[in-house]
């Protein structure tokens, strides 16, 4: 038996842990691009801000897309609800609320992540320290995940937590792709400029897939392969297909436990089959941007349906 409010807390706790990690990864990719490109880096930082989904809030506060402004906004700024600091704070508040549903190890890993990041992000980050800070964020979230997978019972508590993780991750990956969908379009890929090479690498870096890509495909970046990797490849842990494989699995476990199915099961299944049988050619033919917009919309709807049917509120 699980309280609706607790299921809600678990779901959002995990969404925010995932978000904190993805935010660090985005900044990491931006940093890398800024370091390797000779041209003005502000274009890259602009796209980092858009991928993070906080372009409006950023524009209200800053006019320049500089490394210092962007990293401060995405890592430290508590007025930005999706910054790493805000995300960890929200994750911990939720964890405290659902404390009884967590193992001591899981709670302590979240509490310790909060304590150490709070200290680390208390002051503006010196650019020389940025790589170390990004590492620390990824390490803390990895420790949380380790404690979670290692100690939690595989029951409904686990299912709702995983739903949060994968709904958030699918949203993140889809947004990163959507922000740069134009650099993946076939018409532009024919140009084959070095500019595109950088852009493609940046996409892969944002999801920590630049090395694994080479093992799975080829040493050269091909837009259709990149899109295939991040959308349809069921072995790539940040791809949409991968996320939906687990969303469907955990929703199924819940319906078996509870003996009832809801609209969210159908929504998840529809998306899952689409990703399972689809080909990247079909997606490109129908329009990548349209596909991604629809996906983001359906993914959001799924989140709402889960909240409604499992009585989160």
């Amino acid at each position: 038996m699980l309280l609706g409010r607790t299921a809600n807390g678990l779901y959002w706790m995990n969404r925010y842990i995932e978000r904190a990690e993805n935010m660090a990864r985005l900044v990491d990719a931006g940093l890398r691009m800024a370091l390797t490109r000779t041209q003005d880096a502000s274009e890259e930082w602009t796209s980092v801000i858009i991928s993070s989904g906080s372009d409006v809030a950023f524009a209200n506060k800053y006019s320049d897309y500089t490394a210092a402004n962007v990293t401060d906004f995405l890592l430290r700024d508590t007025s930005n609800p999706s910054s790493v600091m805000s995300s960890i704070e929200t994750a911990r508040t939720n964890a405290r609320m659902v404390r009884t549903a967590l193992t001591r190890e899981t709670w302590e890993s979240i509490n310790e992540a909060w304590m150490s990041l709070k200290r680390m992000l208390a002051k503006p980050i010196d650019e020389r320290e940025l790589p170390a800070v990004l590492d620390a964020i990824k390490r803390e979230t990895a420790l949380i995940r380790g404690a979670f997978y290692g100690t939690m019972l595989r029951n409904e508590i686990f299912d709702f937590s995983q739903l949060g993780t994968y709904v958030e991750r699918a949203d993140n990956t889809a947004r990163i792709l959507d922000v740069k969908y134009y650099v993946l379009l076939p018409s532009i890929s024919w140009v084959g400029s070095t500019l595109d090479n950088y852009q493609w690498e940046s996409i892969l870096r944002s999801v920590s897939a630049h090395r694994s890509y080479r093992w799975n495909y080829d040493a050269t970046y091909k837009p259709s392969n990149i899109a295939d990797y991040l959308i349809l490849n069921g072995r790539m842990p940040r791809s949409l297909a991968f996320c939906y494989r687990f969303i469907a699995e955990h929703l199924n476990l819940l319906s078996e436990d509870y003996g009832e199915r809801h609209a969210c099961h159908d929504t998840a299944l529809t998306t899952r089959s689409l990703l399972k049988v689809g080909s990247i050619k079909d997606i490109f033919d129908a329009g990548l941007h349209e596909f991604l917009s629809d996906f983001i919309r359906d993914n959001t709807r799924l989140g709402n349906e889960i909240a409604q049917h499992y009585r989160f509120h």
Binding site: M1, L2, L3, G4, R5, T6, A7, T93, R96, M97, R99, T100, R104, W107, E108, N111, E112, M115, E156, F160, L254, Y258, E260, Y310, R311
Partner: protein, 470 residues
């Protein structure tokens, strides 16, 4: 007057319960002990054993300082305390039952009628209501102080929602982590079964119609409450749901919680929400912390609320001064554990005495708690005494006064070694069809030299409390 030290009294030297500990302590390297003190703080922070201090934004989560020197009680001392506590708890429940039914004690003139009728803690809604299994106060904390080898007094009864038991449990966990060897050398009676006892005790007072394995839940005001850690801790340790008002509603004459599979009935609610907020339909209409209609369910006998609404009438400081009479009235025997002599300022002669001796006395607000709104005469300046005297004279019935007791001390570990500090003791008592105590309780210690205020909100700390298995 020098205070009685429980480890090293001036007159007789090292006391017996501390012999083995003292031997161990003398073998320890001071640097190692200093390191252990830091380890202890780290353990508490990481576990999140914090409490909120209201009105202090910055320090919204603070630790209660923990001292590594245990407070040790011999088995024999504990047996004597237990008898006194059991007697007192029995009387408290009998008093509550009487006060909400026939009011024999008022008719007998042993407690003045006025004290009940005009008391905010008395709930007319409870008149004639008999809680499941006839138990009113299920979880009680009795604050006890010691002044010499053989003198113990009850300072206060906590019959509403006593807190602090999680510290008792975590203090022991921490001590066992820090000094495992100590527990092999010295046989200390365990406390870790408290949560199991609590769950069994709550299950034993389930409503008559409830199923054999009743559904129990802990009701918390929420994660911003100062004692939230404890609420979560106890629910977790018992293996029951931790609910908030927003999770609950009345469904088909029962209180039910909103789960992912719909509403599920609750049979026993261990509530950590004050009476006033329990039911907006009966008490404070603005409350969002309680459950609308729970009092109707309660009166229909369909839920156990622990502790029962209205138990505050038994631990009110004005009632406290009548406890010796109350104990004798219901148990037919003299109270084994004495009260601290108390002047009721509502009585003109007492008021006169208190005003004349204000610099010698501790004066407390009748309804206050947490060490707020009190004056410690000997520690107060002349001006503070005068200001307080004015407050006292304007509303005498709001105050009681007690002599400044020479509370016993137990050493704490400081940078310069052991140093005596004043302590009190709060044993926790569980009442169902029987009365149960875990050996020991929570020892609170005033960390400031000479201070008598042990409250955590006022710079107090805690110690692990050992009852020896001797």
């Amino acid at each position: 007057m020098a205070a009685f030290d429980e480890m090293l009294p001036e007159v007789s030297g090292l006391r017996k319960p501390y012999t083995a500990y003292d031997r161990w302590l003398k073998e320890q390297d001071p640097a190692r002990l200093a390191q252990k003190m830091q380890d202890a703080e780290r353990v508490f922070r990481k576990t999140g054993i914090t409490f909120a201090v209201y009105g202090e934004q910055e320090a919204s989560e603070r630790l209660i300082p923990f001292d590594i020197v245990p407070r040790i009680i011999s088995g024999q001392e504990w047996r004597r305390l237990t008898q006194g506590i059991e007697q007192r708890v029995q009387a408290l429940n009998a008093f509550l039952d009487d006060i909400y039914h026939r009011q024999e004690i008022l008719r007998a003139g042993r407690v003045p009628k006025d004290l009940i009728a005009r008391n905010e803690a008395f709930l007319p809604e409870m008149i004639g209501v008999r809680p499941p299994a006839g138990v009113y106060t299920h979880i009680i904390g009795i604050d006890i102080v010691r002044t010499s080898e053989n003198e113990f007094y009850v300072l206060e009864d906590n019959a509403r929602t006593p807190s602090g038991v999680s510290y008792m449990l975590e203090n022991r966990e921490t001590m066992m982590q820090l000094f495992p060897e100590l527990f092999q050398q010295i046989k200390v009676r365990p406390v870790e079964n408290y949560a199991q006892l609590l769950r069994q005790s709550l299950a034993a007072v389930k409503p008559e119609g409830a199923k054999d394995a009743p559904t129990i839940a802990v009701l918390t005001p929420g994660s911003y409450n100062s004692a939230y850690f404890e609420h979560a801790f106890l629910a977790d340790q018992m293996g029951v749901q931790l609910v908030e008002g927003q999770d609950l509603r009345v469904v088909d004459g029962h209180v039910a919680m909103r789960t992912t599979e719909g509403y599920k009935q609750i049979d026993v609610l261990y509530r950590r929400v004050d009476d006033a907020f329990l039911d907006p339909l009966t008490f404070n209409p603005d409350s969002t912390l309680g459950v609308a209609g729970i009092m109707d369910v309660y009166r229909a006998g369909n839920i156990t609320i622990a502790n029962a609404p209205g138990t505050g009438i038994a631990d009110d400081k004005a009632i406290y001064s009548y406890m010796p009479e109350i104990v004798e009235f219901y148990t037919g025997r003299k109270a084994i554990l004495g009260n601290v002599p108390t002047w009721r300022c509502s009585e003109p002669d007492s008021l006169k005495y208190v005003l004349e001796h204000i610099h010698e006395l501790v004066i407390k607000e009748v309804h206050g708690s947490g060490g707020y709104g009190m004056l410690v005469g000997p520690a107060a300046s002349k001006k503070e005494c005068e200001t307080f005297a004015a407050k006292l004279s304007s509303k005498p019935s709001n105050y009681i006064a007690q002599p400044t007791l020479a509370l016993s001390t137990v050493p704490i570990m400081t940078e310069k070694g052991l140093a005596p500090r004043h302590v009190d003791l709060r044993p926790y008592v569980l009442v169902s069809d029987r009365i149960q105590l875990v050996p020991g309780g929570l020892t609170r210690v005033a960390l400031k030299e000479g201070s008598l205020v042990v409250n955590s909100s006022q710079g107090g700390g805690t110690k692990d409390t050992w009852v020896l298995d001797d």
